[in-house]
């Protein structure tokens, strides 16, 4: 077991403060003693990695904002000034630019982890839904951030995506005018996007706070997907998970550093090094890689409004996931059929990503339609159905018993 740590409120000053504002006590409880399942795998590292990414983005973003000029005539050059004349400006910008990609990789893995191990189920529904809110806010933030350097893809990406809202019957065009701050994408658009790009990350911080409160109410799910029942099932967060998360962070930073220092433009589009030109449409307008699956869903139907509805439903369906899944068992480890379709979903989303990267012609359209259809089939039909039909494998008695060797019980007897 863990060595006895220093008590929550030792010193006189700490005690004085804690009596009035239990900061140290709460921190001690939530980050130190916090009982955590003893069997978390490395897939559970991605939550803390996402937190680290959020901090990295905010810190580099604040420094970039000290030099960046949100004006349509000056923005592109100001980013180039950051790259060339600001001390270590290139480093700041490459960390921020690739940070968005790393953030999405981490969050996507984090989400698929949740899908595999049933982390969205009772009693973690709100925790999951807050996560989906974070994803939406991240998407908005990244989209608006990508507009800021005011290159060709910034401009045309902004044009294509904001135009989607015009499909909404009745108010569509008013919404677009509001987003643009005028009748075209221009300086007012850039100004409001910068303002929001600065604001939204702090909204994300707030939602992450709620996400963590919800998490700490019932604790982490775990690879077995069974509740922890006693001290034999859990270990204190510190030092076990602090050291494991630190190790994971170091591995992650290593990969991140290789990209930042040796391939900083690999994930980006060369077109964005050409200043925005409203008179010249680029050969093809492709969003950043992390939006490609959604872009594919959007384009899978010829009707714009229907495409937009599908796009929003693709994320909306994640909100109601806890109620679509009818299985009493959380972890896919014990769900032979669900495990298979989980991997099908992974392949499906990758296929959508491939489709999103290509002009919608020929085979691309067909694959896009099938993959979009399957995406919704997976959540709306297979999810409820398999939960009912599948025979889960017997669950272990307890986490401790499973880890240290012990029996298992059939689902029906599960407490």
């Amino acid at each position: 077991m863990a060595p006895p740590g220093p008590g929550a409120a030792n010193g006189r000053i700490t005690r004085w403060i804690d009596y009035r504002l239990p900061f140290v006590k709460v921190m001690h409880h939530e980050l130190y003693e916090y009982p955590t399942p003893r069997n978390l795998s490395y897939w559970w590292n991605f939550g803390s990695l996402a937190g680290a990414m959020l901090v990295i983005m905010i810190v580099t973003g604040i420094f970039l904002a000290m030099y960046y000029t949100p004006n349509a005539d000056l923005a592109f050059d100001s980013v180039e000034r950051i790259m060339r004349d600001v001390n270590y400006g290139w480093l700041l910008r490459y960390i921020h630019m690739n940070g968005a990609s790393m953030f999405f990789i981490v969050v996507y893995i984090h989400i698929f982890r949740g899908l595999y191990y049933g982390s969205y189920k009772y009693p973690r529904e709100l925790l999951w839904m807050l996560g989906v809110v974070i994803l939406l806010l991240m998407m908005a933030t990244a989209f608006m951030g990508y507009v800021l350097p005011w290159g060709q893809m910034s401009y045309w990406g902004a044009t294509v995506i904001t135009n989607l809202f015009s499909a909404i019957p009745g108010v569509g065009h008013d919404i677009v005018t509001l987003l643009w701050g005028g009748y075209v994408v221009g300086n007012p658009t850039l100004n409001r996007f910068f303002s929001l790009h600065y604001l939204l990350p702090f909204v994300i911080v707030a939602v992450v706070g709620l996400h963590l409160i919800a998490l700490h109410t019932h604790g982490s799910n775990n690879p077995l997907g069974i509740d922890h029942k006693g001290p034999g099932d859990t270990i204190p967060f510190h030092p076990y998970y602090t050291v494991k998360d630190s190790f994971g962070l170091a591995v992650f930073l290593l990969i991140y550093a290789v990209i930042v220092f040796y391939a900083p433009n690999f994930l980006g589009d060369p077109q964005n090094y050409i200043p925005a030109n409203p008179l010249q449409t680029p050969p093809d307008i492709v969003p950043e890689w992390y939006f490609l699956p959604f872009y594919a869903i959007l384009r899978s139907v010829p009707n714009k409004l229907f495409g937009v509805i599908l796009l929003f439903s693709a994320i909306g369906v994640l909100f109601i996931l806890p109620w679509l899944d009818t299985s009493p068992v959380r972890s896919a480890k014990f769900r032979p059929v669900y495990k298979k379709i989980f991997w099908l979903l992974v392949i499906d989303v990758l296929a959508l990503g491939w489709v999103g990267a290509h002009p919608p012609e020929g085979i691309v359209v067909t694959v896009g339609r099938i993959a979009t259809f399957y995406y919704f089939l997976h959540f709306l039909v297979l999810f409820p159905l398999i939960g009912k039909l599948e025979r889960p494998r017997p669950l272990p008695l307890s986490i401790g018993a499973a880890v240290l060797g012990g029996g298992s019980v059939p689902v029906a007897e599960r407490g």
Partner: protein, 256 residues
């Protein structure tokens, strides 16, 4: 450990594959790959090549193409002395002022001035170049798929059009340019077009390679520093990974 590494590597490989796939099929055939001293983990710019490349830009390309994002003093980074930079800058005139009479006036450029372009504005450039706009070259290597290979490919790509290829008047056949019809007249036409001061033989491929090197530096002047710092950061992180892995093993061994 192994699992995390596999997951991390798989995730990055997937992302790279997706991007690679997305790139592979766009437009014209990819330009042939050339050797560049600045590629790879230990890659650095070759100062002699940079200076030769600047000479090519200065003697040939600068007649049409601006280099907006560079200042003359930036040339000190590729080995020119402050006195040489002053001399180079003084070849150009910039508008300054107003003076105490309220008049704008012309003065020789100083090292702190940005590169002076060949035309006062884009319209003047188009008027002089038959309607085609010679793009700013300060970012061209980063703004094109293929980077330096592409620029080299363009400059060495002015070959005879295949039989039956219909050329639009005012365009030149270029094997690398998407659509093969470029509005730039072949800029490098004869060996020895530029008189290299370091004795290197100025063949067309040599000049193309040198100017592509120079333009790579213009696009990414901090590459040397980035590679150098990157190596140290990665070394540090490798050690950190090792130490933290050992720490993790030790702490967790108490559990069993």
């Amino acid at each position: 450990m192994a699992r995390l590494l596999i997951a991390a590597v798989a995730a990055s490989a997937l992302a790279c594959a997706a991007v690679g796939l997305a790139r592979a099929e766009d437009g014209a055939s990819a330009p042939a790959h050339q050797e560049w001293s600045f590629q790879g983990v230990f890659g650095t710019y070759d100062e002699a090549a940079l200076q030769r490349g600047f000479q090519v830009y200065h003697d040939v390309c600068s007649a049409c193409h601006p280099l907006k994002h560079l200042a003359y003093r930036d040339l000190e980074a590729i080995g020119y002395t402050p006195a040489q930079v002053k001399g180079i800058a003084a070849q150009y005139q910039v508008t300054a002022g107003p003076n105490d009479q309220g008049q704008m006036f012309q003065r020789p450029a100083q090292p702190s001035d940005m590169f002076v372009g060949p035309f006062p504005n884009d319209e003047a450039a188009r008027a002089a170049e038959n309607g085609a706009l010679p793009p700013d070259l300060s970012m061209v290597v980063k703004a094109r798929e293929g980077g330096p290979d592409y620029v080299y490919g363009i400059l060495t790509g002015f070959v005879k059009a295949p039989a039956g290829f219909k050329e639009t008047p005012g365009t030149y056949y270029n094997a690398t340019f998407p659509g093969h019809q470029i509005k730039m007249p072949p800029p490098l036409t004869a060996d020895g077009q530029v008189k290299y001061t370091d004795g290197t033989k100025a063949t067309i491929p040599q000049m193309a390679h040198d100017v592509a090197t120079f333009l790579s530096w213009a696009s990414e002047p901090n590459l040397d520093e980035r590679h150098r710092i990157g190596f140290r950061v990665i070394l540090f992180l490798v050690v950190a990974v090792g130490v933290l892995y050992a720490a993790k093993r030790r702490v967790w061994s108490r559990l069993h």
